[in-house]
């Protein structure tokens, strides 16, 4: 089924059960998995997905169809996930800039990064990484998770987050390097 066709869109506008069912079959599980990968609980993921669909159908008349339905749906879901992050103390951002004073005026390291040879032996690494991902500033965290965990295309992430590809590059750079610096601090002392 071509979800981008006029005919299908018309059926959705008319709230035709078969068309809605087709869309749910294609994306409901995907949306749930995406929500879970944003560190939400099962109940929170369900809540985010349900309200995504409701918002989608409430605003369907405003959908200009410049992007694919999937991208539009994911954009709504991402906003719902952000709302849940904001309302939950578990997702409190660490606002300190860990990349400040990392380099000297010539762009070289002030404190030389240490070898991560001990990282792989650490049983804590996965836990530490998860904790530190949760503490990343919201935009960095979302960009990082969409790109690295969900494997979304750059073009789609830019549409979902409404940012330029340069901006996305900076967010990914900051997220990865903040994680790197903080893991080093915790595992190398």
């Amino acid at each position: 089924m071509n979800f981008s066709s006029d005919e299908f869109f018309e059926r959705l506008l008319n709230r035709e059960e078969a068309a809605i069912n087709l869309l749910l079959e294609s994306y409901n599980e995907q949306l749930f998995k995406v929500a879970l990968k944003k560190n939400l609980s099962d109940d929170q993921a369900e809540e985010a997905v349900q309200s995504t669909w409701i918002t989608f159908f409430e605003k369907i008349e405003n959908f200009q169809r410049k992007s694919h339905i999937r991208t539009y749906l994911f954009g709504i879901l991402i906003n719902k996930i952000r709302e849940i992050w904001r309302s939950n103390a578990k997702y409190t951002e660490d606002r300190q800039d860990y990349l400040e004073n990392l380099y000297d005026d010539t762009g070289h390291y002030i404190n030389k990064p240490k070898s991560p040879d001990n990282w792989l032996q650490s049983k804590q690494l996965a836990i530490i990484m998860n904790e530190e991902i949760n503490k990343l500033p919201e935009n960095q965290k979302m960009a990082f998770l969409l790109k690295e965990v969900d494997g979304e295309k750059t073009e789609d992430i830019c549409k979902i987050l409404d940012i330029s590809s340069t901006n996305l590059g900076v967010l990914i750079y900051r997220a990865k390097n903040t994680l790197r610096v903080k893991i080093e601090k915790r595992l190398n002392g």
Binding site: N14, E17, Y103, K112, S115, D150, Y173, K176, R180
Partner: protein
Amino acid sequence: MKTFFKFLQKLLKSISPKFLQDMMYTCEHVAYLLSQSDQLSLKQKFMLKLHQMICPPCQNVTKQIEIINSKTKLMTEVDLTPEQKLKIKKGHSDLLKKLSK
């Protein structure tokens, strides 16, 4: 062995032509490129390798980022539990009732 590598790095740095030294990336630039490693041009890849050869801190950063990337890849697959599958199925039928005319 380590001393030998340090010597080799210094030698490489001293014999590289001035224009190459001017073109050399800074550690900050290298860190940026490492975080976008799937989108680099051939020139960027070459200059990155050249910098890494002579810069032990960036060699460590490269390894750190590689570990982060590999651990992140493990997070990409979600195997749904039977309870989660049930939740999705129930959500599907609830939504269908709620959304269709």
